[in-house]
């Protein structure tokens, strides 16, 4: 790690001009005028339209695929199937949430031996119009041998369950199984001795919870445009959280050299982790390579639900022991997460986060990664964490009740703090969890009265946050403006935050900085915009690039003044003599230096290529008031407050935006969202009508409290803020329902039929 960056916040209460200010976002005007170009907004001359034929079965062997009639249809220019994608060795590479395996990826983008879920791609067509492409799909004959399927995670673990991959041998169990199963992996994280810990407990509570797969629900469907040239090079435009990962995956799947594939990210219409993997992109490239014409592909909403990556559904057992004065003595959990049709669920981070908010001596968490006939899961904000932390927070709430302790006090008593030994590995550095809980207690919301049938609940959440590989380049233009080139797609307003940091460093008006997000050929590698890394890591690189540009300018001025470079300092956007000893010189502003750049050595720029380390963990708490309609089971959210440690809010509006958006995704996940499958293993609610994401009319305002306990590893103290807000709400809402009704719902979503049924059972 490059620790040469000064930790500015610790320099005292230095006045900040842009960091922490609500500046205008650079891409704002284009987005309110309809000018911004998203994934489906790009066209090229001679463009063809690609469409995918998808499996109507949950599990079937492909006997044959006959594309001859489709190929004969006028206007059809190419058809691709499994035969057009070379098989790949089993090889795991990092791709955001978890490792991905190219052997699996090539099968996910186009089914090979079998179709493994409803919606699995089987063939694709490129034609001169969408309607011809759709007609051609109907002319493709696929002969299937239908196989039994399995949808539920616990069913998939039984010995007689239909097996998706006969050669999948469970990892991490002893002895090594001799037969394939749906269980890809067992993992375990331990600390201390839980048996002893439970012996010390006065109260022990064990409960099992179920959650359903939910989708990120970004409003923009996946879209791309691929153009292959006869030279062997290709251009790809797409909506993605990481153009460099798209390049890596596509180059691998297409057998291309990395330098020959240029990927340009469009504006991205929401991702939340779901746009960290490739679906259409390799297919569009394959179709374009067959025709040497540009091929545009867009998914319908139905395809997005059926064939991209929702998050896992899961079964989670949690057992916690506490003393009568509220000290947790032992904590145990078993997590069974659906991976979908290929291994690689988020069970590992789920295990690592489960008890991470607490300072515990005895922990044992076991996780299982389980395959089912569903689409392969992808990340969804803090992948894995909401599920395990939901179960833990529900059990803790009940334990607080049992010992007659306030739920926040119980959490405060056990809160993780600097020096806490985590079960997942390290001791924590400075974290703001205690401050978050104290802010909850001192909020108006915490003290507000409740009416009949109303309840209040709280839940907390932890996420690691990450750094990672990042490049930034910055040109000082001849008129004194700046062009800032980053490689991190902006999924929530990060450009504004990054410009704030650049302006702060350079001491210039933030509106003189114009940021662009580069294609893969214009800037070095950048990891995904994921894991709450963008403002942290891209910010760090931006600061370093700005300081690099400043050093260049200082050197030019030092030459001009004929003094050593150390005698020139940079302050408020100008080079100045370090002291009167350095000589009497008028300050030179950035535009003045830029103007004479040709005479002083040529163009001026700054750049940074880093692998950002030292991300600061994020802790948050949600508090929610709800009202239950006891006759219908309907739950109305009345009031909602998010409290979270941001480290430092570089742009408070967009920090609040992350908190509010995450909270509402929690509300959806907790109350109504779920993948609903029929007995045939097919998804029944692949649209926004019956996949019920929250509406404006369902919600109150979402109050926010930004706590700032700086991350010592970032110059301004930034922690990531995007992931944590999706964790605490699931339990907060469950706890609120419990407060209102005395009932503990143990399955998500807590939809009206389930709540009403529970109310009736309690009455009976």
């Amino acid at each position: 790690m490059d620790n040469s960056l000064d930790m500015q916040f610790s320099a005292g209460d230095k006045d900040l001009n842009y960091v922490g200010k609500r500046t205008k976002r650079p891409d704002g005007v284009d987005k309110v005028t309809g000018r911004a170009r998203f994934g489906a907004d790009t066209r090229l001359p001679g463009m063809l339209y690609g469409k995918i034929l998808r499996s109507p079965h949950a599990h079937a062997r492909i006997i044959s695929i006959d594309t001859s009639k489709a190929e004969a249809l006028g206007g059809v220019k190419a058809v691709v199937t499994r035969d057009d994608f070379e098989d790949r060795e089993s090889e795991f590479v990092p791709a955001g949430e978890m490792m991905v395996n190219y052997r699996d990826m090539v099968r996910n983008i186009m089914a090979r031996e079998k179709v493994l879920y409803d919606g699995h791609a089987v063939a694709a067509v490129a034609a001169t119009s969408v309607s011809i492409a759709k007609k051609a799909l109907k002319l493709i004959d696929v002969e299937y041998e239908i196989l039994p399927h399995v949808i539920d995670v616990c069913d998939a673990m039984t010995p007689d369950a239909p097996v998706l991959h006969e050669d999948l041998i469970t990892e991490g169990v002893d002895p090594v199984p001799t037969k394939g199963s749906n269980v890809a992996k067992r993992i375990e994280f331990k600390l201390g001795d839980v048996v002893k810990g439970f012996e010390q407990a006065d109260e022990i509570l064990e409960k099992t919870f179920d959650t359903k797969p939910v989708h990120q629900g970004y409003i923009e469907p996946h879209a791309c445009l691929a153009s292959c040239s006869e030279s062997g090079s290709a251009d790809l435009w797409c909506s993605t959280q990481g153009q460099y990962l798209v390049r890596a995956h596509c180059a691998k799947l297409m057998g291309m050299e990395i330098s020959k594939l240029r990927v340009t990210p469009s504006e991205i219409g929401g991702g939340f982790g779901g746009k960290t993997v490739v679906f259409l992109e390799p297919v569009a490239l394959a179709l374009s390579r067959k025709t040497f014409r540009p091929v545009k592909m867009t998914m319908t909403r139905d395809e997005v639900f059926r064939a991209t990556g929702p998050t896992s559904g899961a079964n989670v057992r949690v057992k916690i022991g506490i003393t009568n004065d509220g000290k947790i003595t032992a904590a145990e959990a078993e997590l069974k997460y659906q991976a979908g049709a290929f291994q690689g669920s988020s069970v590992q981070p789920g295990c690592m986060c489960a008890f991470a908010p607490y300072d515990l001596q005895n922990v044992d968490v076991v996780g299982w990664d389980v395959l089912t006939n569903r689409p392969k899961v992808a990340a969804y904000r803090a992948p894995g964490a909401p599920i395990s932390e939901y179960a833990v927070e529900c059990v803790l709430d009940e334990l607080a009740d049992r010992i007659g302790m306030d739920a926040v006090d119980l959490r405060l008593k056990n809160a993780a703090k600097e020096g806490t030994q985590t079960a997942y590995g390290p001791k924590l550095g400075p974290v703001g969890f205690v401050e978050v809980l104290q802010a909850v207690k001192s909020s108006d919301h915490f003290k507000a009265p409740l009416g009949a049938n109303q309840g209040r609940g709280i839940g907390v959440g932890f996420w690691f946050n990450i750094g990672g590989e990042t490049c930034v380049s910055m040109s000082v233009n001849e008129d004194g403006t700046l062009t800032l080139v980053t490689g991190s797609p902006d999924i929530g307003g990060s450009r504004a935050s990054i410009c704030n940091m650049a302006a702060e460093e350079l001491g210039i008006d933030v509106e003189k900085i114009n940021p662009i997000i580069a294609d893969t050929s214009s800037l070095g590698f950048n990891f995904l915009s994921a894991g709450s890394r963008t403002t942290f890591a891209c910010g760090m690189a931006t600061i370093e690039a700005a300081r690099n540009a400043i050093d260049n300018m200082r050197a030019r001025v030092a030459q001009l003044w004929e003094v050593p470079v150390e005698s020139v300092i940079w302050e408020n956007g100008a080079a100045r003599p370090a002291s009167s000893n350095a000589g009497e010189f008028d300050p030179m502003t950035l535009p003045e230096i830029a103007k004479i750049a040709p005479k002083t050595g040529g163009p001026i720029s700054g750049h940074a290529e880093i692998n950002a380390q030292g991300a600061g963990p994020g802790f948050g708490a949600h508090m929610v008031d709800i009202e239950v309609d006891r006759e219908t089971g309907h739950v109305k959210v009345l009031r909602y407050t998010v409290v979270q440690d941001a480290g430092k809010a570089i742009h408070p509006s967009y920090v609040e935006g992350q908190y509010q958006g995450g909270a509402v995704q929690c509300i959806g996940w907790a109350l109504n969202e779920e993948y609903i499958y029929g007995d045939d293993g097919c998804l029944q609610n692949s649209g926004f009508l019956d996949y019920r994401i929250p509406l404006a009319s369902d919600l109150p305002m979402i109050e926010t409290i930004i706590v700032e306990v700086p991350n010592p590893n970032h110059p301004y103290g930034v922690r990531g803020v995007g992931e944590t807000p999706i964790i605490p709400g699931l339990a907060a809402i469950s706890n609120a329902i419990s407060d209102a009704t005395g009932l503990r719902m143990t399955a998500l979503p807590m939809s009206p039929p389930k709540v009403l049924q529970a109310l009736k059972q309690a009455q009976a």
Partner: protein, 158 residues
């Protein structure tokens, strides 16, 4: 499939185009007229990202056929600003950070404008119900509602 000749007005400009009878107004706006500000989020009328005003009525352009545009007057997001003068709603969306990814923004703005033309002084509840057909997954709606209320206030004062 034989095509239909349609004459229509979009943002006060007259257009003529040919379209297949199955093409929707959204397809036509985006693919034939190159007005890509209206977005396709679902194509089933459930998300509102394609909202436009047709003869004074707010509609989802994905639920109108291109052939039905004949003789109609359509307003899209591209017609909302007056030159470089943003509409107060557009300005308030920027001031309040009422957008994150921005994909739902054109539809939300078109809907909100239609609301304020009908009801210049809506309550928070009225704004929330009017915009129920405009899905946003990033913001939790909070800042959107605040921006609309604030724009309404400013427009009333003007």
């Amino acid at each position: 499939m034989s095509k239909y000749h349609v004459t229509t007005t979009v943002n006060n400009d007259e257009f003529e185009f040919l379209c297949e009878p199955t093409q929707t107004m959204l397809d036509v706006l985006r693919d034939e007229l190159n007005l890509t500000g209206s977005k396709e989020g679902c194509a089933t009328g459930d998300c509102g990202a394609c909202s436009v005003v047709m003869d004074g009525r707010l509609v989802c352009s994905c639920l109108v056929l291109g052939v039905e545009m004949e003789g109609k007057s359509i307003e899209t997001i591209e017609g909302m600003a007056d030159g470089d003068d943003l509409h107060p709603l557009q300005q308030k969306f920027l001031d309040h950070a009422a957008l994150q990814c921005g994909i739902c923004t054109p539809g939300v703005l078109v809907s909100a404008k239609a609301l304020l033309e009908k009801n210049p002084d809506p309550t928070e509840t009225e704004v929330r119900y009017w915009l129920a057909g405009n899905l946003c997954r990033c913001t939790g709606y909070d800042k959107i509602i605040r921006a609309v209320m604030d724009a309404a206030k400013e427009m009333r004062a003007a």
